[in-house]
Symmetry: C2
Amino acid sequence: MFKALIFVTLRESVLDPQGVAVKNSLHSLGYQEVQEVRIGKQLEVLISCENRSEAEQRVREICEKILSNPVMEDYTFKLEEVA
Amino acid sequence: MFKALIFVTLRESVLDPQGVAVKNSLHSLGYQEVQEVRIGKQLEVLISCENRSEAEQRVREICEKILSNPVMEDYTFKLEEVA
């Protein structure tokens, strides 16, 4: 069994209106020192695979096909074996 | 200037309906080996502070007051000095 910690973030060149909204809220609440906010997703996926390379391949496939939008988003992940 | 990478996740004991929905979609798309999915937020916050301890304090305050809901969520963050 493997645990994949997946991070899906907007590409640098893509505007992040949700991040801008949070930044503006922080400013209006007195946190003027905040310069930029960008928001992404973190997914924790438990996957039962025989070995690490199989798990890696499955997680990559899931990320590319389903969990991220490759036009606008990048993903990275870490795999960890769990009992 | 510091960059804070903040992770906000649902507490273990809190149900994650969004994660369950993603898991069910993955199953119906043929990824039966996925056992569990939990979804959180990742925030990248640029903050201009004099020193690390001030930045740490401000980020902690922002996390507790605004970015997370302490009843249902936990947060962790990493601070990194940037140019």
